[in-house]
């Protein structure tokens, strides 16, 4: 009996330890998204659809169904827009490594990836339940980029404040409504505030129905962009 108890205990201990020694490898996200934003001239915009991202393929795919059916694929160097029979290619700097999807899959969202970037920590402060870290750009870019302040609550990214070179607030982002997906924390809503000509513009991105590491729709995660 004692021997049986030892076997059961060893099995349970090993089984539970497995998840600490080998944390789950998150590599793929799919979600329903909506983007609502206010624009100059009292206009507004609503975009809805599905988003797909695989950190190994490094392609961010937006399958949009409103306001019009189109697919946008963002790779390392380009944004390719597929709309009906039309295809448009726009060159853009690499941004997928700093997308919320890539950061979450690599468990780097809490620091927004700044820890492993050329940005330097200037100071860390604590205010009640919030930890605020101030990052400075590398000296050679100090005339181009301003500082970034990052706040965390309960070890989760709460907000980012981006400054311009004149030390004025250029934009803010807030990460809300976190949910846990098999050990991966993902915000259900991101609120962005953009300051332009002394006006404030808002952008709210919402995510629902997240699926992590699903093995279906392989072709969408590795969307073909060949001409």
């Amino acid at each position: 009996m004692n021997f049986a108890k030892k076997i059961i205990f060893t099995f349970l201990f090993t089984f539970n330890s497995y998840y600490y020694i080998y944390p789950q490898n998150f590599f793929r996200i799919k979600a329903d998204f909506s983007i609502k934003e206010t624009l100059p001239g009292e206009k507004s915009r609503l975009i809805m659809g599905k988003v797909f991202y695989d950190k190994n393929h490094k392609k961010l795919i937006y399958d949009i169904n409103f306001p019009e059916k189109e697919t946008i694929v963002i790779t390392d160097s380009f944004m390719i827009i597929f709309s009906g029979q039309k295809r448009e290619k726009i060159k853009m700097p690499s941004s997928n490594d700093f997308s919320i999807f890539h950061l979450c899959l690599n468990s780097n969202l809490a620091g927004f990836g700044l820890k492993n970037s050329p940005y330097i920590i200037e100071k860390v402060e604590k205010d009640s339940d919030m930890v605020i870290t101030t990052y400075l750009p590398p000296s050679k870019f100090s005339n181009t980029f301003g500082k970034v302040m990052l706040s965390q609550k309960q070890k989760k990214l709460f907000g980012i404040v981006i400054f311009n070179v004149n030390n004025e607030v250029a934009g803010k982002q807030f990460f809300k409504n976190y949910a846990n997906y098999s050990g991966m924390e993902f915000p259900g809503e991101i609120v962005q505030i953009i300051y332009n000509n002394k006006e404030e513009f808002y952008k709210v991105t919402s995510f629902k129905n997240l699926a992590i590491n699903e093995m279906r729709d392989e072709n969408i995660y590795n969307y073909s962009v060949a001409e």
């Binding site: 909506s34 609502k36 934003e37 206010t38 624009l39 100059p40 009292e42 206009k43 507004s44 915009r45 609503l46 975009i47 809805m48 949009i64 409103f66 306001p67 019009e68 189109e70 946008i72 944004m79 827009i81 448009e88 290619k89 726009i90 060159k91 853009m92 402060e125 604590k126 205010d127 009640s128 919030m130 605020i132 101030t134 302040m149 706040s151 709460f158 907000g159 404040v161 607030v169 803010k172 807030f174 609120v191 808002y202 709210v204």
Partner: protein
């Protein structure tokens, strides 16, 4: 006592500094909710309705005062062709004229045709790197138009010469 008082005031000052930075991370939830009240209503309508027709989309766009363009503030993706003329024809027409009126001087069609290419390259050039890349595409279309126009113009001209001046056709 003096040191204690200094420490006390230093602590107060430090707390004020923390307070100022924390204020940067205050979000006015009520303002956000009121800004997006109508868009939230529209989102709920769209979530309930699976298939929506184009006419219904148009009505919704107008009703909710939406900007239908995807890229943020940048409507160049849906920009009209230069003065309403596709880039291909900016090169084709001058190339056609050059090819038709100067069949024996082979450089002239391209020189005249390239004026259309030059117009497209310069007038569609703007200051964003993304737009510049697209302008290369437009310029390429104009260049292809120029090459096509020149060939067609040259072909028509030579054809007419052979038709009306068969003896000259032998020289060509």
């Amino acid at each position: 006592m003096k040191h204690l008082a200094s420490f006390f005031f230093l602590g107060l000052f430090s707390v004020n500094l923390f307070g100022v930075n924390a204020e940067l991370f205050i979000l006015d939830e009520e303002k956000i909710t009121s800004e997006f009240f109508t868009l939230n209503q529209l989102e709920n309508i769209l979530l309930e309705k699976e298939n929506i027709s184009e006419s219904e989309l148009t009505i919704l766009n107008e009703q909710y005062n939406l900007n239908n363009s995807f890229s943020s503030g940048d409507t160049s993706r849906h920009k009209d062709p230069l003065y309403g003329i596709p880039a291909f024809f900016w090169g084709f027409v001058p190339g056609l004229c050059g090819g038709f009126f100067a069949p024996c001087i082979y450089g002239i069609p391209l020189i005249i045709g390239s004026s259309g290419v030059g117009i497209v390259a310069n007038l569609t050039d703007e200051d964003s790197s993304g737009i510049k890349f697209r302008d290369m595409v437009e310029t390429q279309k104009a260049f292809l138009g120029c090459a096509a126009g020149s060939s067609v113009g040259l072909g028509i001209s030579i054809g007419l010469i052979i038709l009306y001046y068969p003896s000259l056709g032998c020289i060509i």
